[in-house]
């Protein structure tokens, strides 16, 4: 979990400006931005808006023209640049593996710079292979022999080798195809759940930012910070027309994608127990205004019965003996609300049953889903 206390930050930029020699306008203008320990912050914005420049100022690959940057509580200039960088993992789009070194020796580069002995480096390499999900058989190959996705994992492993508290990533997934990208994004989230780094991620892909980041900083040309908020906060209340247009259409739907069924209140739904009679079942259907009832026994969803079928039977018949139809409109507690909405609108009854494994938790309709956005 990211540390939410406001006074602590892992990275703090204060009034940072960078004007490159020979250019009239700053690439980054008066940027103030704090990153809390353990959170993933995405810097997003159109091409040329200063994302890379901002990232490189954090590890001093670019020196700010003015302003200060604190890293882990110290002014970043309080130590030599190379020492600062050894505490900060760095992953770039082109990955930049060392072509003349095997994968093993690529991963071991930072520990080597730090003077670790061979045994310790070897042990760490084995650990990293597992952490980033790399095939150990690849360790003795050279970078050119690996696929883009594999190289990307090696790049992340190399950055994490000396267990730095901070990780900077510059468009790490833009060079791999969409399927691999999605898998690598999932892997990053799984990795982050284990290692709890402070991660600053640069991307031009707003969806990637929304997917991965705890907070998103939207930059405009000239490195101007337009808005800095959680994905949900951005979608709920874009601070400017620029942010709104950058976020794109369907903001409501995209907010739904960020929340899960478990986040909303469910209703009980038109359900009867098997021990009830047909007359009682018809009352339940009336009460809910549905043309069907579902049979639920001890929190197990049995199936549903059509109202017309019930009406044809004597009122005292027990529901338990009747044939039911399988309930297909179901969602899980962890299903994103956007997916739940899809299930609801494609179901005949505009309702979906919420199941936790086999357990019946209730029903959701469009009303409940839409209510999720108010929370």
């Amino acid at each position: 979990m990211p540390d939410r206390s406001p006074d602590r930050h892992a990275i703090g930029l204060r009034n940072v400006t960078k004007t490159f020699a020979g250019s009239a306008l700053p690439a980054v203008g008066d940027l103030t931005l704090a990153v809390r320990p353990g959170e993933i912050v995405a810097l997003v914005g159109p091409s040329g808006c200063g994302k890379t420049t901002t990232l490189k100022m954090i590890n001093r690959l670019v020196e700010p023209t003015s302003g200060t940057i604190e890293v882990l509580g110290d002014d970043q200039r309080s130590m030599p640049a190379h020492e600062l960088r050894r505490r900060i993992g760095y992953v770039i789009q082109q990955i930049g593996l060392f072509p003349h070194r095997t994968i093993r020796r690529n991963m071991g580069m930072v520990p080597e710079l730090l003077g670790w002995d061979g045994d310790r480096i070897a042990a760490r390499t084995d650990e990293l292979v597992g952490l980033v999900g790399l095939d150990p058989d690849l360790l003795d190959r050279y970078p050119a022999e690996l696929s883009g996705g594999q190289q990307q994992r090696v790049g992340v492993a190399r950055a994490l080798a000396a267990d730095p508290p901070i990780l900077l990533m510059d468009e790490p997934y833009s060079a791999v195809d969409p399927i691999v990208r999605e898998r690598l994004q999932d892997e990053l989230l799984a990795l982050q759940a284990k290692v709890h780094k402070t991660i600053v991620l640069v991307t031009h892909d707003i969806d990637e930012a929304m997917r991965l980041a705890d907070r998103v900083a939207i930059l405009n040309v000239g490195g101007v910070l337009e808005q800095y908020d959680t994905p949900d906060g951005l979608l709920a209340a874009p601070a400017s027309p620029f942010v709104a247009s950058f976020l794109g259409r369907e903001r409501g739907l995209r907010r739904l994608a960020l929340r899960r069924v478990a986040d909303v209140e469910v209703i009980e739904g038109p359900i009867v127990r098997p021990s009830r009679t047909v007359a009682e079942a018809l009352d339940v259907a009336d009460e809910h205004g549905t043309s069907w009832v579902a049979v639920v026994d001890e929190r197990q969803l049995g199936g549903w019965i059509d109202r017309a079928e019930l009406e044809a039977l004597p009122g005292s018949t027990s529901v338990g003996g009747l044939a039911t139809q399988r309930f297909v409109a179901t969602v899980g507690a962890t299903t994103p609300l956007r997916e739940a909405l899809d299930v609801i609108v494609t179901s005949r009854s505009r309702m979906a049953a919420v199941l936790d494994g086999e357990r019946y938790l209730g029903m959701v309709t469009i009303d409940q889903v839409a209510g999720g956005l108010d929370a």
């Binding site: 590890n59 960088r85 050894r86 990955i95 930049g96 930072v110 190959r141 050279y142 190399r158």
Partner: protein, 228 residues
């Protein structure tokens, strides 16, 4: 066919191989001066090229200087150094020849080293700085090793040219395989066996050097060959 028979007879005559004027001695001397010149060229060309390329200094000038070096005839250098060498008491044959060979060997090494270091993967170099290498480490651990295939290619060109050109040493009294050619020239046409054998041996030696470097290369830069 006469020529082939002449060379064959010359080579199969044991006396021609032995003694102070024999093929063995001449070959050894030929290799000796070639080795010294190649080593000196390496030492004189690589470090400045690496330094200049790392700092991206004087790219045009560097290539121009190297090209001028290539354009000056080796024979002229020998002739120029010859009197100086005598004045300095360094003797007749070896040093004038060696200086000319070093001058010949420097350009390909220099140009290739510069191109190799300057052409090191920008991403790898950026990553190297980004993960905390000092400038010296970037140079030693990334730029120089990734330039190695090109440096080796440059060394190969240098070494082959040096071996072929060391022949000229005979003109200023350095006894090497060129001496056979010179002796052949001085004799009537009937004695072309010496001339032809000398030329053949020089060519064979140059090709052997080329072959050895070619074989050694995958061991020195294993990451280039295994890619395909």
């Amino acid at each position: 066919m006469d020529a082939v028979r002449d060379v064959w007879e010359f080579l199969t005559t044991g006396d021609n191989w032995r003694g102070a004027r024999g093929i063995w001695t001449l070959t050894r001397a030929h290799l000796h001066i070639s080795f010294v010149a190649s080593a000196l060229a390496l030492v004189l060309a690589v470090p400045p090229a690496v330094w200049l390329a790392h700092h991206r200094k004087a790219p045009v000038l560097s290539v121009a200087i190297a090209n001028i070096g290539r354009a000056i005839p080796s024979f002229a250098i020998i002739a120029l150094v010859f009197p100086i060498s005598i004045q300095l008491g360094l003797g007749l044959g070896f040093w004038p020849t060696c200086v000319a060979l070093v001058a010949l060997g420097i350009p390909p090494l220099f140009v290739n080293t510069y191109a190799g270091v300057a052409g090191a993967s920008r991403e790898a170099v950026e990553a190297a700085r980004g993960i905390g290498m000092t400038e010296g480490q970037v140079l030693r651990k990334v730029e120089l090793p990734t330039a190695l295939p090109l440096i080796i290619a440059g060394f190969r060109i240098s070494a082959v040219q040096i071996v072929a050109t060391a022949t000229l040493g005979a003109l200023v009294g350095y006894r090497c395989l060129g001496t056979l050619i010179l002796e052949g020239l001085a004799q009537p046409t009937a004695a072309r066996d010496r001339l032809l054998t000398g030329a053949l041996l020089v060519a064979a030696l140059a090709m052997a050097v080329d072959f050895v470097i070619d074989r050694a290369e995958p061991r020195l830069v294993p990451w280039t060959k295994r890619v395909r």
